[in-house]
């Protein structure tokens, strides 16, 4: 087993990992190493060959591979080292909990044991599979998650099927609806159990409506038929409790069922390392700089909570990279206190779950939240500290699919030091 040391070790080379590593170098960490399981850098983005990446970060509308290639170049130029085809198997802690040893394996280097000063978790997320939904019926070939289908089509060059039904209206599912249509396959329908689409409006318009793909809301798949390959699925409308409504069943002939029913942050390593996980997000509990409950361990990107825009992933990773470098260089403010953040009225979750005080201008701090229910009219997003309103932001509508960002202002420091906690509520204006 080879032993290595470094200042900052980043697990995962998606947009989060690359930006965190880049920023750690820029902020003075000497030795920054990124470990990636895949053969290529970039996380999920090499297979996202559609555009829509980087409008805010680079002021240009890039494809996924283009966006991530820029970050890979910037990281390389900043002196970040990368190891691809290397998978982290475990994060071990010293008995006193102060130091960590990361165990990884690769064909080229064998087993590695790496001792970093600071660790950044950027493992992204995985897709929820069929089993997790317990969809009844047979278990033939032709049931894939949308991301697996995306990889098959865009990287491997093979079609998962010819006639598709898509369950779930997540962004990947909608993007694949368009992609498969462009490849000459058919998309018979997209079904969503919720009464509204769960992905971005932009994708609904450009990927589903523009291609006349039938969209069925409040509808789910209740049966899969076919012994060898999928032959049909049965769909049915559901009531408010998501129970199928008798009499609304319809059989849709198809050879493929694609699932776009949610992403789950990949935190098996984090859990084993003792990082506290938020049961609502499925990701680590963090502060505004991505610091987790374990000193010296940071997290950024989809591993924390699922993002819809890569620009926000990058921003979160720049913050985490900066503080990881600070930890590695021992420049973090030692004395600080933390305020818990509560998800109030119609708020599903808020990240960070705790805010470290004082707020530092160059650090930047943003509360990222999602609502529980869509509201298609004007709303007020209210941020308060023990009832004292700090911010009242008016929005024309809110949807669970679109993350809301609230920048925290350093001038609030004084008002916050005496507060017991922050709360965000979303109410009709």
């Amino acid at each position: 087993m080879r032993n290595l040391r470094c200042d900052v070790l980043v697990i995962g080379s998606g947009p989060a990992g690359l930006a965190a590593a880049y920023q750690a170098r820029e902020c003075g960490a000497r030795d920054v190493l990124v470990i990636e399981r895949n053969a290529e850098l970039g996380g999920i983005l090499p297979q996202c060959i559609h555009n829509g990446f980087g409008v805010r970060v680079f002021q240009s509308d890039l494809t996924g591979p283009e966006y991530v290639a820029r970050w890979a170049r910037m990281a390389a130029e900043a002196g970040v080292r990368t190891l691809t085809r290397t998978m982290v198997l475990a994060i071990e802690s010293s008995p006193d909990g102060a130091r960590r040893r990361v165990i990884a394996t690769s064909g080229a280097d064998g087993m590695l044991a790496i001792e970093p000063t600071a660790l950044v978790l950027a493992m992204g997320c995985r897709e929820r599979p069929r089993g997790a939904l317990a969809i009844p019926g047979l278990r033939p070939a032709g049931v894939y998650t949308a991301g697996t289908a995306q990889r098959l089509v865009n990287i491997e060059g093979y079609m998962p099927g010819e006639r598709h039904v898509i369950l779930g209206s997540g962004d990947i599912g909608m993007i694949m609806a368009r992609r498969l249509t462009l490849e000459g396959a058919r998309v018979e329908a997209m079904c969503e159990i919720l009464p509204y689409v769960s992905g971005l409006r932009r994708n609904l318009v450009q990927c589903v409506m523009d291609y006349d793909i039938p969209l069925h809301l409040s509808t789910t798949v209740i049966d899969v038929a076919g012994r060898e390959r999928v032959e049909s699925v049965t769909i049915a409308q559901v009531d408010a409790a998501w129970r199928p409504i008798a009499g609304t069943e319809r059989v849709l002939p198809c050879d493929t069922l694609l699932l776009s029913v949610g992403l789950i942050p990949e935190n098996e390593l984090s859990r084993a390392a003792g990082v506290m996980i938020d049961p609502v997000t499925g990701g680590p509990v963090v502060d505004q700089a991505g610091a987790t409950s374990v000193p010296g361990v940071y997290a950024a990107g989809n591993v924390v909570h699922v993002y819809d825009l890569v620009d926000d992933v990058t921003a979160s990773a720049l913050r985490a990279g900066r503080s990881a470098a600070g930890c590695a260089c021992c420049t973090l403010l030692a004395e600080s206190c933390e305020l818990p953040v509560t998800a109030g009225e119609n708020v599903h979750h808020v990240v960070p779950q705790r805010v470290r005080l004082p707020l530092v201008p160059e650090e930047g701090a943003t509360l990222e939240l999602r609502v529980r229910q869509p509201v298609e009219k004007a709303v007020r997003v209210r941020l308060s500290a023990d009832g004292d309103v700090l911010l009242n932001k008016r929005l024309r509508y809110v949807r669970p699919s679109e993350m809301i960002g609230l920048a925290l202002q350093p001038e609030w420091n004084e008002r916050l030091t005496s507060a017991g906690g922050l709360q965000v509520d979303v109410e009709e204006a």
Partner: protein
């Protein structure tokens, strides 16, 4: 025409164990299965418990072979390198009434000769398995009960048979048993040929052994005999993520009913938790569909035993079919039907091998050999018979030092393909070149655990397709999930000039 001494129809755990038992002798043996891999029938979808033997009625074949089979598991699994854990099993009583039925089970177990049983009280049960229902008032503990990798055992037994000279033909369906007067002459088979044509062929054999699970009755009828009628009884299951394994360390049965052993909660040999099965009589022997009602029943039943189970940890559902004898059957005793029918020469029937068929399989095989010998088959031992088979290293089971050494020997073991179960490219390559090669995705899955974790193949499928196509020398377009028309991908995307 080539002539065999014995043709075994069905490469489930029963047929495969029989083939291995016959491989010890100088015989020309053929093992046939219509599926694309061994163990694709009931053997791949059951509760995987090596029962201690207190369930069956005293004096039955079931009781005798369960006990004898159970006793052979340590040796058989160590010879074949199959994962087996004699972790002990519990039947949990949740009421005073049920408590009485524990005494009955205990008494029956004593009659059957089951060693290592004890009756414990509710407090002791909760001490041993803290997640068990607070309603538990007592339990029957059976120390000899265990859990096994059922398809692993079947694959290993079939590989051992093949390495000792047994011929194996997959995707070969027996359409009928051929008779010449009183004598069985062989079987008629149908085989899928490259290009999609079906080839029909006759194979001659002195003996034909029916080990065809649900289809045993149809094959028996094709030989002109009746007296057996199999009706499928479905059992549905949930598999939970490994993280649930902290909750259940052994096997928890409820008190049995007249129809089944009930819905249980068990750890699997691979470290998951499994819930099920229910028991529903159906008519179609291919109907492996899970139903909403069935799955709900399973969850309700499991929660009665372990109230803290978390639905969010579900990663998979499946169903298996019990080969139950129809109550109207001529000789129905609820027992296994393992016999040499008197009406013909050269036929041996293994019928109605429902639970505890897996636990009994090693003993069934030995019993079948005895019956064949008794019916006049000459058995001469081969001096070179080897009861073992080579076992491929499993990366995730090794120490860090062993992992390092393995990668140094073959760098493909450093490439992790399935990240939930930590399966390496080296393991996939080995499975593709094993004595019975993995030729389908499901076959690969059963040999390596690839795709069986929480992401259910989401990450590995594209990579596995690429590696399998390369190793097997086929196009990705020809790879299937489980043979036949179960293709994984349908065509290449539009060609780029």
């Amino acid at each position: 025409m080539t002539s065999y001494d014995v043709i075994v129809i069905g490469a489930g755990v029963v047929g495969s164990m029989i083939a291995r038992a016959l491989a010890r002798y100088r015989l020309r043996t053929l093992l046939l299965d219509k599926a694309a891999d061994v163990g694709e029938g009931t053997t791949k979808a059951n509760t995987a418990i090596v029962h201690a033997g207190y369930d069956a009625k005293p004096g039955t074949l079931k009781a005798r072979l369960n006990l004898a089979g159970n006793a052979q598991y340590d040796r058989v699994c160590s010879e074949l390198g199959v994962e087996f854990d004699r972790c002990g099993t519990y039947v949990v009583a949740a009421s005073a009434e049920e408590r009485i039925s524990l005494d009955e089970l205990y008494a029956r177990g004593r009659q059957n000769g089951v060693p290592g049983m004890t009756l414990i009280d509710g407090a002791e049960m909760r001490r041993r398995e803290p997640s068990v229902t607070p309603q538990a008032v007592g339990a029957l503990y059976a120390a000899t009960g265990g859990i096994v990798d059922p398809f692993g055992l079947c694959i290993a037994a079939a590989e051992c048979a093949v390495l000792n000279g047994v011929e194996l033909a997959l995707e070969t369906e027996v359409t009928g048993i051929v008779r010449e007067g009183r004598r069985v002459a062989g079987v008629e088979i149908r085989k899928q040929m490259p290009g999609g044509n079906l080839a029909v062929q006759k194979l001659a054999s002195r003996w034909v052994v029916i080990a065809a699970g649900l289809w045993a009755d149809d094959l028996l009828h094709s030989a002109g005999l009746d007296g057996l009628s199999i009706t499928p009884r479905k059992g549905e299951y949930y598999v939970l993520d490994r993280v649930a394994a902290g909750q259940v360390h052994t096997v928890l049965f409820p008190c049995p009913t007249a129809f089944s052993k009930g819905i249980l909660v068990t750890r699997t040999i691979h470290g998951n938790v499994m819930l099920g099965p229910n028991s529903v009589s159906i008519s179609d022997k291919d109907d492996l569909a899970c139903t909403r009602e069935g799955l709900d029943e399973v969850m309700q039943g499991a929660l009665k035993l372990v109230p803290g189970l978390d639905r969010r940890q579900i990663i998979r559902t499946f169903a298996g079919l019990r080969a139950t004898q129809r109550p109207t059957g001529r000789s129905n005793t609820g027992d296994f039907v393992i016999e040499v029918p008197r009406e013909v020469d050269g036929l041996l029937l293994c019928g109605a091998i429902e639970s505890p068929g897996l636990a009994a399989a090693p003993a069934i095989a030995a019993y079948v050999v005895d019956l064949l010998r008794g019916a006049g088959l000459t058995l001469v031992e081969r001096p070179d018979y080897d009861p073992t088979r080579p076992v491929q290293p499993r990366f995730s089971h090794l120490s860090r030092e062993e992992q390092q050494a393995l990668i140094a020997r073959d760098p493909r073991h450093g490439n992790i393909v399935c990240r939930c179960e930590t399966v390496t490219e080296g393991e996939i390559v080995a499975a593709c070149h094993a004595p019975i090669p993995a030729r389908t995705y499901d076959a690969l899955k059963r040999r390596t655990r690839l795709g069986t974790g929480r992401c259910q193949g989401g990450f590995d499928t594209p990579l596995a397709i690429e590696i399998m196509a390369r190793e097997l020398g086929v196009s990705p377009l020809d790879l299937t999930l489980k043979g036949g028309g179960s293709r994984l991908v349908t065509r290449q995307t539009k060609a780029v000039a």
